[in-house]
Amino acid sequence: MLRYLLRQLGTMIPTFFLVMVISFMLIHLAPGDPVNRYSGQISLSPEARQALLVKYGLDQPLPVQFVTYLETLFQGDLGKSMLSGRPVIEMIGERLPATLLLTLSSSTLAFIGGNVVAVLTARRRWLDFGASLIGYVLFSMPTFWLGIILIIIFATQLDWFPTSGFTNARESYTGLAYALDVLHHLALPCLTLVLVELPGYYRVARASIGETRQEDFITTLRASGLSQGTIFRRYALKNALLPSLTLFGLSLGYALSGAALVEIVFAWPGVGRLTLDSVLKRDYPVLMGIYLVIAISVMAAILITDIVYAFIDPRIRYQS
């Protein structure tokens, strides 16, 4: 098992290196003068420009710059924002709670919901058809559109939830009241994401269940006289749920990237909006930092999912 783990880790290292190369290139490939970008669009005299060049090490040849970049990275420094001078890590860090709250909760609910629906509809044909149909429709909706519709229905018309934001601006709650307030605000954006993600899990789970039931071992069990229901619950279910577990694991890795469209519609203070703002303002250090953080997170998620899978299915360990 350990060997498997190390082997997987080993393959990730060159990938990560490539990720860092790409991240470094982000700022240098974009058209325009990098110094202008670092100076935040203010006019400069030649002396000031030269000073900035030196300050950011832009006067060095590219390979040297890359090495410097790697050095700072390994010290845990993701650089500083070009516009505000704040450390990128701080800027990403302050958005993480809101982001993770939204993406983790919606992914988890979608995963559970999708599998539950798949199991429930597996043997009832008409339910299955109905669920599939609804699933297709939801899957195909633009999230921002769904979002504003939910706002209009549940916030404006029914007044069950607030329209947007992380907390209630008028009151300053603490403790339990604060937590409840955040949950109250979380409901609609989370619902939007769940509605578009759940059908995905449903499809995968449903297909997998369908496949598993036709496996030989199931047929054998049927022949032995066990009822369909028992077979399903005790044997088929576990195996059938594996593929959607992989999907879930991967989506956990992407949780850090936020959900830009939903965040904008619901004014949710997540990393997705930070990404968009940074792109529009050309704040490359922040973009690079976000990219690296996401890459690390996804790679970790892939690694963990692989391990969990290998744990459950010993064949995998011995195969590769």
């Binding site: 325009g32 100076s39 006019s43 400069l44 203070p269």
Partner: protein, 559 residues
Amino acid sequence: MDDQKKVGVFESLVRSERNGISRREFLRRGLALGLSLPAASGVIATVLGAPVRVFAQDAAATKGGQGTLVVEQSGDPVSFNPNYTIDDFGYPIAFNTHSMLVTLSQDVEVIPDIAESWETSEDGLTITFHLVQNAKWHDGTPVTSADVKWTYEKIVSTEGAPGRDNLIMLESVDTPDDYTAVFNLSSPSSQFLGFLAWYATFLLPKHLYEGTDWSTNPVNQTPIGSGPFKFVEYVAGDHITLEANPDYFGEGPYMDRIVYRIIPDAATLEQAILNDEVDVDISGLFPTDSLANVEADGRFTTVEKVYASNFYIVFNHGRDITGNIEVRRAIGEAIDRAQIVERGLSGAGTPVNTYYTPVISWANNSDATAPDYDPENSKALLDEAGYPVQADGYRFKLSFPYLAFGDAWRSIAQVIQAQLREVGIDSELVELEPSAWNARVATDDNYDITYLAGFLGPGPGALKNRYGTGGGINFWHYSNVEVDKLLDEAASEPNAEEATAKYKQVQALLAEDIASIPFSGAATTFVYRKEISGLPVPGDAAGDILGFGNFALVQRASS
């Protein structure tokens, strides 16, 4: 002026054209200077006695106690230091956390803020400001002239400070006593006071900034100012909270807290307002077409603010097609202004065909007009100019980048594109963020037409920037020797009437040359709850004593 500088000047002016308050703010200020400084003259003959701030000594309400005001904000501020860089989303907040020496009223007059009065010397080289004596920084330290000296000398000496170029004639600041600051100018300037009241000229605490790099000083994240509200917290992406400053030197504040909620999407903002989650929107984000709903609702007040600005189409005079005056005339005749206002601006504007703004009527030459709408003649002109319709149905294709300032700007571009197509001119729209637009238009010269909203700067003297050869924002290579001569003469003309006449002549020449095609004025509508008063907006007295965005006098009537 070398290219970098041109770009910088232009950017500093255009930058304020961003969505939301700052663009409008900028335009307002431009109007302010236009009105209050009629003669772009070099000599100030009169000694201006500034109005002394009137305090309502027996103000009905006591400070604080009115609860929380929730204000819309459409983006995140970069920092809370309003002087070191252009920060459109930090600006509205700075009005409450910081003070200026002088500021601009709703009617665009220079009014006192922390300087309660001032005198200008006969030769115009010295301005003496008298500060209020009870102002304190939010950390309790008194505000003195030392802070004034430090702040303004810092601005003028720091390259890259947005306020620097405008205040460049400031040589030094003397501080004969704690509450008097004497500004020494290298040359007299009728614009100086206006610029001082304008942009990126807030007072910063010397004791916290001296000796540090003001662009990275941690105080930028938790500001200490002298304004009516103190900074409490900033939850990135969500909100900024301010609380009342009980030691504020002026009247008020009456609200206990102000919370700026960051809502970037217009549709969501509308829902938030309807749901009582936002009290005030002076950011201009509210969708114009939904105003009717809100007005009919009965819970809200809407106020229209007309700016002294023109939207105008700009030609690249350096290119063959657009350099041809007959083509420009044809394009001018293809433009239906009423339709642009109705469809592009959703009615938030008025058709304009003069080369200055009719809002500053005394400086506007109403006879110097751009071509009228006449699509049939336009087609004939194009045929005559040698651009017949080709096989694909169009005569030629223009590259048309425009600024990504939101839905209205995109709609305007699309309407213009459609109108040009009617006469057989195709165009390719390219939506660009300000820095990208700048790179493409100013630096790379890669466009045929584009359009801008006319920010006016200090009076008709601003025409020089745009239409004078080599002008700071004259990226379109327009050049007329006669115009240059008149502009220079008017700038140094001591007699105000003569100067104005010359500026009007300039406009006549611009019309003759069809230098650009103005098409609309600009307006925006503010939306806020009926029970709120004391907002520095048109129709409220607070606008005459406070700068825009300063909520010191805001009150909420109890229902």
